[in-house]
């Protein structure tokens, strides 16, 4: 033990960063803020950054934040992205409950199952968004849902990687 302590000085005094328990939630808000970047999209095929980072955190660990934090995080996302207020609040809390249920049922987890789960959640997110848009007088063709869905499914591993790195950094590992 002494030898290990002498060998690498950086192991000493290492631990969670200050405010480590708030970093996951903060990263979700930052991801939502990406939609304030000065990019103008005529097709709307960018992934839903906030939701992507939210499910990446929740699939990585069961306790990134108390589950009810999803409601204020969703409200922030609604306000930042200009979605109808309440859409992400309801959707994100429902996602939390859903993933708690899934956690009870699944016997084991691997990367492919997580990706499949994420794909299902993204499909749910996209469908509800489209359904609400239809109610608000903008019914979009079903075919136009496919490209953004595929893009966000393929963007999930990137989000998961970033979130895993962030998790290691915040815990000081």
């Amino acid at each position: 033990m002494v030898r290990a302590a002498l060998g690498s000085g950086r192991r000493i005094g290492q631990g969670p960063r200050v405010g480590a328990e708030y970093i996951p939630a903060a990263s979700v808000v930052v991801a939502s803020m990406l939609s304030a970047l000065p990019m103008v999209s005529t097709s709307g095929w960018y992934p839903d950054f906030g939701f992507l980072v939210l499910i990446a955190w929740r699939l990585l660990r069961s306790d990134p934040w108390p589950a009810w934090w999803a409601a204020p995080l969703g409200l922030a996302n609604d306000l930042i992205t200009g979605a109808p207020i309440g859409l992400s609040v309801a959707l994100w809390t429902a996602t939390m409950v859903l993933l708690d249920l899934v956690d009870r049922r699944t016997m084991w987890r691997d990367y492919w199952i997580e990706w499949a789960l994420a794909a299902l959640l993204l499909l749910l997110n996209e469908t509800v968004e489209r359904w609400i848009a239809g109610i608000m007088g903008a019914p979009v063709a079903l075919a136009s849902m496919a490209p953004p869905l595929l893009i966000s499914i393929f963007a999930f591993p990137i989000a998961a990687w970033i979130v895993a790195r962030l998790d290691r950094w915040r815990l000081g590992r």
């Binding site: 950054f49 069961s62 306790d63 589950a67 207020i85 994100w92 809390t93 987890r109 136009s144």
Partner: protein, 291 residues
Amino acid sequence: MAPPRPGWSRRAQYGLFFSFLAVVAGFVIGLFLLVLSLVAPNTFQTVRGAALDVTGPVSGALHEVTATAKGLVSGAGNYWDSARQNAKLKAERKAMLQRMIEAKAILQENRQLKAALQLRERSRDAVAAGRIVGSSLSSPRRFAVLSVGTGDGVRVGMPVRSPDGLIGRVIDAGTLASRVLLISDRSSIVPARLLRGGLPVIAQGRGDGTVDVRPLEVGRNPFKRGDIVVTSGTGGLYPPLVPIARVVRLDDDGAIAVPLADPANTSFAVVEPPYEPAAGVPASSDSAETP
């Protein structure tokens, strides 16, 4: 990965139970807010405006950076390609001069005809000019964020155009920034007409950056590839003769057109008052066009 079992601790059990209650409460509140914003879209106008005031200037400041970077890149490209561009521009200029003389003649004739008819020109002053600094990136709706707000006189319902053509109309207004419903949004319907022949048509967005144009009278498909669609001024919100879109593909009873004013490449967008003042009342224009 299983959720934490509380064990025998009463405190932990209650904590878990109350956090579950909080999640359910959050979900119910979310549903309530959602229903409220569906049934009464004007409820959250001030909140949404305030949120725009927070994010709008951020986008605006970042926009300067990206515009400068883009300008440097395209500037270097132009320099590289200057010989070929020069020749092309010379040819274009020659063609343009001819067209300009024709246009001048037409303008003169037009003025004489109008004088003969004693038509009064409606003067339209721009309310404000701003830049498009962002847009909805991941939603079936097509919105853009404009860098002017109520502080500059912008009100909900005002039409927005650029030198290239019609962009849309204002749906949320903060003090410093406003949100524009683009003409490519599914819920945007613009009364229009074909520039060639003047046939009345309807231009409705498709949600993917293009516009669906259909003739008002059912019958033979009147469109050809390359046709320009302009606003007709019917309804009184949009001013007449603003270019909207160019037809790129025909389908069975209409055509698909691409907006002439690309919001991604528009440097300045001008907010105008509603063409006929009566059309500017937000409640009526909203209920008429977005249910």
